[in-house]
Amino acid sequence: MGKIEDLETINGEGYQLTNLDKAIALARANSVWPLPFATSCCGIEFMATMGSAYDLSRFGMERMSFTPRQADLLIVAGTISKKLGPVLKRVYEQMAEPKWVLSVGACACSGGIFDTYSVLQGIDRIIPVDVYVPGCPPRPEQIIEGVMNIHELVKKESNRRRYSEEYKHLLGTYQIEIDQHGEAK
Protein backbone atom coordinates (compact mmCIF):
# COMPACT_ATOMS: atom_id res chain seq x y z
CA MET A 1 0.00 0.00 0.00
CA GLY A 2 1.22 3.48 -0.85
CA LYS A 3 -0.07 6.98 -0.61
CA ILE A 4 -0.35 10.04 -2.86
CA GLU A 5 -1.33 12.83 -0.52
CA ASP A 6 -4.57 11.54 1.00
CA LEU A 7 -5.07 8.92 -1.67
CA GLU A 8 -4.76 5.24 -0.78
CA THR A 9 -2.98 3.28 -3.51
CA ILE A 10 -1.99 -0.30 -4.17
CA ASN A 11 1.50 -0.38 -5.62
CA GLY A 12 3.06 -3.22 -7.58
CA GLU A 13 5.81 -3.85 -10.11
CA GLY A 14 5.24 -1.12 -12.74
CA TYR A 15 1.70 -0.28 -11.75
CA GLN A 16 -0.23 1.65 -9.15
CA LEU A 17 -3.91 1.12 -8.46
CA THR A 18 -6.35 3.45 -6.82
CA ASN A 19 -9.97 4.45 -6.81
CA LEU A 20 -10.82 6.47 -9.94
CA ASP A 21 -13.36 8.67 -8.12
CA LYS A 22 -10.76 9.63 -5.58
CA ALA A 23 -8.09 10.30 -8.18
CA ILE A 24 -10.48 12.58 -10.05
CA ALA A 25 -11.43 14.33 -6.81
CA LEU A 26 -7.76 14.87 -5.99
CA ALA A 27 -7.11 16.31 -9.44
CA ARG A 28 -10.13 18.58 -9.11
CA ALA A 29 -9.13 19.77 -5.65
CA ASN A 30 -5.69 20.78 -6.82
CA SER A 31 -6.83 22.66 -9.89
CA VAL A 32 -9.80 24.68 -8.70
CA TRP A 33 -10.27 27.71 -10.91
CA PRO A 34 -11.72 30.56 -8.89
CA LEU A 35 -13.96 33.35 -10.09
CA PRO A 36 -13.38 36.30 -7.76
CA PHE A 37 -16.61 38.25 -7.36
CA ALA A 38 -15.06 41.03 -5.29
CA THR A 39 -17.00 44.17 -4.47
CA SER A 40 -15.18 45.87 -1.60
CA CYS A 41 -12.45 45.62 1.07
CA CYS A 42 -12.63 41.81 1.26
CA GLY A 43 -11.68 41.91 -2.41
CA ILE A 44 -8.50 43.78 -1.44
CA GLU A 45 -7.67 41.03 1.07
CA PHE A 46 -8.33 38.49 -1.65
CA MET A 47 -5.89 40.35 -3.93
CA ALA A 48 -3.27 39.98 -1.19
CA THR A 49 -4.14 36.29 -1.02
CA MET A 50 -3.50 35.99 -4.74
CA GLY A 51 -0.29 38.01 -4.52
CA SER A 52 3.23 36.69 -4.05
CA ALA A 53 3.30 36.92 -0.23
CA TYR A 54 0.46 34.47 0.34
CA ASP A 55 0.43 32.98 -3.15
CA LEU A 56 -2.79 31.13 -3.80
CA SER A 57 -1.19 29.53 -6.83
CA ARG A 58 0.56 27.07 -4.48
CA PHE A 59 -2.78 25.28 -4.49
CA GLY A 60 -3.28 25.14 -8.23
CA MET A 61 -5.37 28.30 -8.15
CA GLU A 62 -3.24 30.82 -10.01
CA ARG A 63 -5.65 30.94 -12.89
CA MET A 64 -8.33 33.45 -11.94
CA SER A 65 -11.28 32.96 -14.19
CA PHE A 66 -13.21 36.08 -15.02
CA THR A 67 -15.76 34.16 -16.97
CA PRO A 68 -18.18 31.95 -15.04
CA ARG A 69 -18.13 29.32 -17.79
CA GLN A 70 -14.56 28.29 -16.98
CA ALA A 71 -14.78 28.65 -13.21
CA ASP A 72 -15.21 26.00 -10.51
CA LEU A 73 -15.24 28.15 -7.39
CA LEU A 74 -17.21 31.36 -6.96
CA ILE A 75 -15.46 33.52 -4.37
CA VAL A 76 -17.87 36.22 -3.22
CA ALA A 77 -15.85 38.83 -1.33
CA GLY A 78 -17.68 41.93 -0.25
CA THR A 79 -21.03 43.59 0.27
CA ILE A 80 -23.73 42.46 -2.13
CA SER A 81 -26.50 44.99 -2.51
CA LYS A 82 -30.00 43.80 -3.28
CA LYS A 83 -29.69 45.32 -6.72
CA LEU A 84 -26.59 43.24 -7.39
CA GLY A 85 -28.23 40.05 -6.09
CA PRO A 86 -29.79 38.93 -9.40
CA VAL A 87 -26.45 39.52 -11.15
CA LEU A 88 -24.66 37.28 -8.67
CA LYS A 89 -27.30 34.61 -9.09
CA ARG A 90 -26.94 34.82 -12.87
CA VAL A 91 -23.18 34.39 -12.57
CA TYR A 92 -23.70 31.35 -10.34
CA GLU A 93 -26.16 29.82 -12.79
CA GLN A 94 -23.75 30.33 -15.67
CA MET A 95 -21.01 28.36 -13.95
CA ALA A 96 -20.65 24.80 -15.18
CA GLU A 97 -20.81 21.84 -12.79
CA PRO A 98 -19.03 20.95 -10.62
CA LYS A 99 -19.08 24.28 -8.78
CA TRP A 100 -18.55 25.53 -5.25
CA VAL A 101 -19.13 28.85 -3.48
CA LEU A 102 -16.87 30.51 -0.93
CA SER A 103 -18.42 33.39 0.97
CA VAL A 104 -15.65 35.73 2.18
CA GLY A 105 -16.25 38.23 4.95
CA ALA A 106 -19.07 39.34 7.21
CA CYS A 107 -20.96 41.17 4.46
CA ALA A 108 -21.18 38.25 2.08
CA CYS A 109 -22.04 35.89 4.95
CA SER A 110 -24.70 37.97 6.71
CA GLY A 111 -24.76 41.55 5.45
CA GLY A 112 -22.17 42.50 8.07
CA ILE A 113 -22.47 45.97 9.55
CA PHE A 114 -24.76 46.95 6.70
CA ASP A 115 -28.01 46.30 8.47
CA THR A 116 -29.89 48.42 5.99
CA TYR A 117 -32.59 48.39 3.37
CA SER A 118 -30.29 48.21 0.36
CA VAL A 119 -27.98 45.34 1.36
CA LEU A 120 -28.61 41.64 0.92
CA GLN A 121 -28.41 40.05 4.37
CA GLY A 122 -26.13 37.20 3.30
CA ILE A 123 -25.57 35.72 -0.15
CA ASP A 124 -27.02 32.38 1.02
CA ARG A 125 -30.40 34.00 0.46
CA ILE A 126 -29.90 33.73 -3.29
CA ILE A 127 -27.26 31.06 -3.90
CA PRO A 128 -26.09 28.02 -1.91
CA VAL A 129 -22.80 28.54 -0.07
CA ASP A 130 -20.27 25.80 0.70
CA VAL A 131 -17.84 27.55 3.03
CA TYR A 132 -18.17 30.77 5.02
CA VAL A 133 -15.11 32.82 5.97
CA PRO A 134 -15.87 35.23 8.84
CA GLY A 135 -14.00 38.49 9.44
CA CYS A 136 -14.28 42.14 8.55
CA PRO A 137 -12.27 41.81 6.42
CA PRO A 138 -10.71 38.37 6.97
CA ARG A 139 -6.93 38.19 6.69
CA PRO A 140 -5.45 36.26 3.76
CA GLU A 141 -4.65 33.37 6.13
CA GLN A 142 -8.35 33.04 6.88
CA ILE A 143 -9.25 33.12 3.20
CA ILE A 144 -6.67 30.38 2.56
CA GLU A 145 -8.23 28.39 5.42
CA GLY A 146 -11.59 28.74 3.66
CA VAL A 147 -10.05 27.59 0.41
CA MET A 148 -8.52 24.58 2.20
CA ASN A 149 -11.98 23.68 3.45
CA ILE A 150 -13.29 23.93 -0.11
CA HIS A 151 -10.50 21.53 -1.14
CA GLU A 152 -11.58 19.10 1.57
CA LEU A 153 -15.14 19.24 0.25
CA VAL A 154 -13.96 18.66 -3.30
CA LYS A 155 -11.95 15.63 -2.20
CA LYS A 156 -14.74 14.12 -0.11
CA GLU A 157 -17.86 14.89 -2.09
CA SER A 158 -19.16 12.50 -4.69
CA ASN A 159 -18.00 13.28 -8.23
CA ARG A 160 -21.61 12.82 -9.20
CA ARG A 161 -22.96 15.25 -6.64
CA ARG A 162 -24.95 17.07 -9.27
CA TYR A 163 -27.14 14.02 -9.95
CA SER A 164 -28.09 13.50 -6.31
CA GLU A 165 -31.59 14.21 -5.09
CA GLU A 166 -30.22 16.30 -2.21
CA TYR A 167 -28.43 18.58 -4.64
CA LYS A 168 -31.50 18.99 -6.82
CA HIS A 169 -33.54 19.71 -3.72
CA LEU A 170 -30.98 22.24 -2.47
CA LEU A 171 -30.97 24.13 -5.75
CA GLY A 172 -34.75 23.85 -5.84
CA THR A 173 -34.93 25.78 -2.59
CA TYR A 174 -33.10 28.58 -4.40
CA GLN A 175 -35.46 28.34 -7.40
CA ILE A 176 -32.60 27.14 -9.60
CA GLU A 177 -33.76 24.45 -12.03
CA ILE A 178 -31.22 22.01 -13.40
CA ASP A 179 -31.32 19.86 -16.53
CA GLN A 180 -30.33 16.19 -16.85
CA HIS A 181 -26.61 17.17 -16.87
CA GLY A 182 -26.95 19.00 -13.59
CA GLU A 183 -26.51 22.40 -15.25
CA ALA A 184 -28.74 25.33 -14.40
CA LYS A 185 -31.34 25.91 -17.10
Binding site: S81, K82, K83, G85, S110, G111, I113, D115, T116, Y117, S118, V119, Q121, R125
Partner: protein, 173 residues
Protein backbone atom coordinates in the same frame (compact mmCIF):
# COMPACT_ATOMS: atom_id res chain seq x y z
CA UNK B 1 -15.30 93.75 -13.29
CA UNK B 2 -15.64 93.22 -9.55
CA UNK B 3 -16.52 89.76 -8.36
CA UNK B 4 -20.02 89.47 -6.97
CA UNK B 5 -20.62 88.50 -3.37
CA UNK B 6 -23.50 86.90 -1.49
CA UNK B 7 -25.24 90.19 -0.78
CA UNK B 8 -25.22 91.17 -4.43
CA UNK B 9 -26.64 87.82 -5.46
CA UNK B 10 -29.39 88.09 -2.90
CA UNK B 11 -30.28 91.63 -3.91
CA UNK B 12 -30.38 90.67 -7.57
CA UNK B 13 -32.58 87.61 -6.96
CA UNK B 14 -34.90 89.60 -4.72
CA UNK B 15 -35.18 92.35 -7.31
CA UNK B 16 -36.02 89.86 -10.06
CA UNK B 17 -38.31 87.50 -8.15
CA UNK B 18 -39.72 89.71 -5.37
CA UNK B 19 -42.32 87.90 -3.33
CA UNK B 20 -41.19 84.47 -4.55
CA UNK B 21 -38.09 84.80 -2.37
CA UNK B 22 -39.60 83.45 0.83
CA UNK B 23 -36.57 83.42 3.09
CA UNK B 24 -32.83 83.65 3.03
CA UNK B 25 -29.89 83.09 5.31
CA UNK B 26 -26.14 82.75 5.21
CA UNK B 27 -24.95 79.41 6.55
CA UNK B 28 -21.19 78.91 6.90
CA UNK B 29 -20.64 81.69 4.38
CA UNK B 30 -22.96 80.15 1.81
CA UNK B 31 -26.08 81.91 0.63
CA UNK B 32 -29.35 79.98 1.10
CA UNK B 33 -32.48 81.18 -0.64
CA UNK B 34 -35.90 79.65 -0.10
CA UNK B 35 -38.23 80.19 -3.03
CA UNK B 36 -41.71 79.30 -4.19
CA UNK B 37 -41.21 75.80 -5.69
CA UNK B 38 -43.07 76.64 -8.90
CA UNK B 39 -40.65 79.51 -9.60
CA UNK B 40 -37.39 77.65 -8.93
CA UNK B 41 -36.98 76.51 -12.53
CA UNK B 42 -37.28 80.08 -13.78
CA UNK B 43 -34.99 81.40 -11.08
CA UNK B 44 -32.25 78.91 -11.93
CA UNK B 45 -32.67 79.67 -15.63
CA UNK B 46 -32.41 83.37 -14.90
CA UNK B 47 -29.31 82.88 -12.74
CA UNK B 48 -27.73 80.70 -15.42
CA UNK B 49 -28.32 83.21 -18.20
CA UNK B 50 -27.47 86.33 -16.19
CA UNK B 51 -24.36 88.04 -17.54
CA UNK B 52 -22.80 88.96 -14.19
CA UNK B 53 -24.17 86.34 -11.83
CA UNK B 54 -23.33 83.55 -14.29
CA UNK B 55 -24.40 80.51 -12.27
CA UNK B 56 -23.05 78.00 -14.74
CA UNK B 57 -22.69 74.81 -12.72
CA UNK B 58 -25.13 72.57 -10.90
CA UNK B 59 -23.29 70.80 -8.09
CA UNK B 60 -26.10 68.72 -6.66
CA UNK B 61 -29.80 68.25 -6.19
CA UNK B 62 -30.93 66.68 -2.94
CA UNK B 63 -34.10 65.98 -1.03
CA UNK B 64 -34.76 66.40 2.68
CA UNK B 65 -37.66 65.03 4.71
CA UNK B 66 -38.96 67.04 7.67
CA UNK B 67 -41.87 64.90 8.93
CA UNK B 68 -42.84 67.40 11.64
CA UNK B 69 -43.11 70.42 9.38
CA UNK B 70 -46.78 70.30 8.40
CA UNK B 71 -47.44 71.51 4.88
CA UNK B 72 -43.75 71.64 4.00
CA UNK B 73 -42.58 68.12 4.69
CA UNK B 74 -40.19 67.77 1.76
CA UNK B 75 -37.41 70.08 0.66
CA UNK B 76 -35.67 70.03 -2.69
CA UNK B 77 -32.25 71.60 -2.42
CA UNK B 78 -30.29 72.84 -5.43
CA UNK B 79 -26.60 73.52 -4.90
CA UNK B 80 -25.35 75.89 -7.55
CA UNK B 81 -21.92 77.23 -8.38
CA UNK B 82 -20.72 80.24 -10.30
CA UNK B 83 -17.21 79.63 -11.62
CA UNK B 84 -16.88 83.20 -12.75
CA UNK B 85 -17.49 84.63 -9.28
CA UNK B 86 -16.22 81.60 -7.36
CA UNK B 87 -19.44 81.63 -5.41
CA UNK B 88 -21.75 78.84 -4.33
CA UNK B 89 -25.39 79.16 -3.37
CA UNK B 90 -28.28 76.97 -2.37
CA UNK B 91 -31.85 77.28 -3.55
CA UNK B 92 -34.49 75.46 -1.54
CA UNK B 93 -38.10 74.71 -2.27
CA UNK B 94 -40.48 73.17 0.25
CA UNK B 95 -43.28 70.86 -0.88
CA UNK B 96 -46.27 69.48 1.03
CA UNK B 97 -46.38 65.68 1.18
CA UNK B 98 -49.70 65.66 -0.71
CA UNK B 99 -48.22 67.33 -3.78
CA UNK B 100 -44.61 66.37 -4.41
CA UNK B 101 -44.32 67.95 -7.84
CA UNK B 102 -41.62 70.34 -8.99
CA UNK B 103 -40.47 71.27 -12.48
CA UNK B 104 -37.43 69.49 -13.85
CA UNK B 105 -34.30 71.49 -14.66
CA UNK B 106 -32.92 68.92 -17.08
CA UNK B 107 -33.54 71.46 -19.84
CA UNK B 108 -31.05 73.80 -18.12
CA UNK B 109 -28.45 71.32 -16.86
CA UNK B 110 -28.16 67.90 -18.49
CA UNK B 111 -26.49 66.67 -15.30
CA UNK B 112 -29.73 67.21 -13.41
CA UNK B 113 -31.09 64.07 -15.04
CA UNK B 114 -29.49 61.55 -12.69
CA UNK B 115 -29.67 63.86 -9.67
CA UNK B 116 -33.42 64.17 -10.07
CA UNK B 117 -33.75 60.43 -10.56
CA UNK B 118 -31.83 59.92 -7.32
CA UNK B 119 -34.04 62.38 -5.45
CA UNK B 120 -37.09 60.61 -6.83
CA UNK B 121 -35.63 57.23 -5.90
CA UNK B 122 -35.06 58.12 -2.25
CA UNK B 123 -37.83 60.63 -1.50
CA UNK B 124 -40.49 60.14 -4.17
CA UNK B 125 -40.33 63.73 -5.34
CA UNK B 126 -41.73 63.94 -8.86
CA UNK B 127 -39.89 66.17 -11.30
CA UNK B 128 -42.43 67.18 -13.91
CA UNK B 129 -41.02 67.06 -17.44
CA UNK B 130 -38.11 64.75 -16.60
CA UNK B 131 -37.40 62.58 -19.68
CA UNK B 132 -36.95 59.31 -17.80
CA UNK B 133 -37.97 59.51 -14.15
CA UNK B 134 -37.35 56.07 -12.67
CA UNK B 135 -35.25 54.57 -9.90
CA UNK B 136 -31.50 54.85 -10.34
CA UNK B 137 -29.71 53.38 -7.29
CA UNK B 138 -32.22 51.13 -5.60
CA UNK B 139 -33.55 47.92 -7.09
CA UNK B 140 -36.38 48.48 -9.54
CA UNK B 141 -38.99 46.51 -7.61
CA UNK B 142 -38.52 48.47 -4.37
CA UNK B 143 -41.98 49.65 -3.37
CA UNK B 144 -41.18 52.57 -1.08
CA UNK B 145 -38.87 55.58 -0.81
CA UNK B 146 -36.27 54.57 1.75
CA UNK B 147 -34.99 57.98 2.89
CA UNK B 148 -38.43 59.04 4.11
CA UNK B 149 -38.37 58.97 7.87
CA UNK B 150 -41.51 56.88 8.32
CA UNK B 151 -39.51 53.83 7.17
CA UNK B 152 -36.95 52.12 9.36
CA UNK B 153 -33.44 52.05 8.05
CA UNK B 154 -32.93 48.37 8.83
CA UNK B 155 -33.59 45.54 6.45
CA UNK B 156 -36.92 43.89 7.26
CA UNK B 157 -35.68 40.42 6.32
CA UNK B 158 -32.70 40.35 8.72
CA UNK B 159 -32.62 37.45 11.14
CA UNK B 160 -29.26 37.32 12.85
CA UNK B 161 -28.59 40.94 13.81
CA UNK B 162 -28.57 41.80 17.50
CA UNK B 163 -29.53 45.45 17.89
CA UNK B 164 -27.36 45.85 20.98
CA UNK B 165 -24.31 45.47 18.78
CA UNK B 166 -25.54 48.19 16.47
CA UNK B 167 -26.05 50.74 19.27
CA UNK B 168 -29.82 50.40 19.13
CA UNK B 169 -32.51 49.61 21.61
CA UNK B 170 -34.83 46.79 20.61
CA UNK B 171 -37.86 48.72 21.84
CA UNK B 172 -37.25 51.55 19.43
CA UNK B 173 -37.81 49.43 16.35
Amino acid sequence: MEKQNNQEYLTAVQAAFGADVLAHEEAFGMLNIEMTPSRIHDAIQWLQQHQDLSVNYLTNIAGVHYPEAVGREFAVVYQLHSWKNNLRLRIKGFLPKENLHIATITDLFAGANWMERETYDFFGIIFDGHPDLRRILNMDDMDYFPMRKEYVLEDATREDKDDRFFGRNNNEL
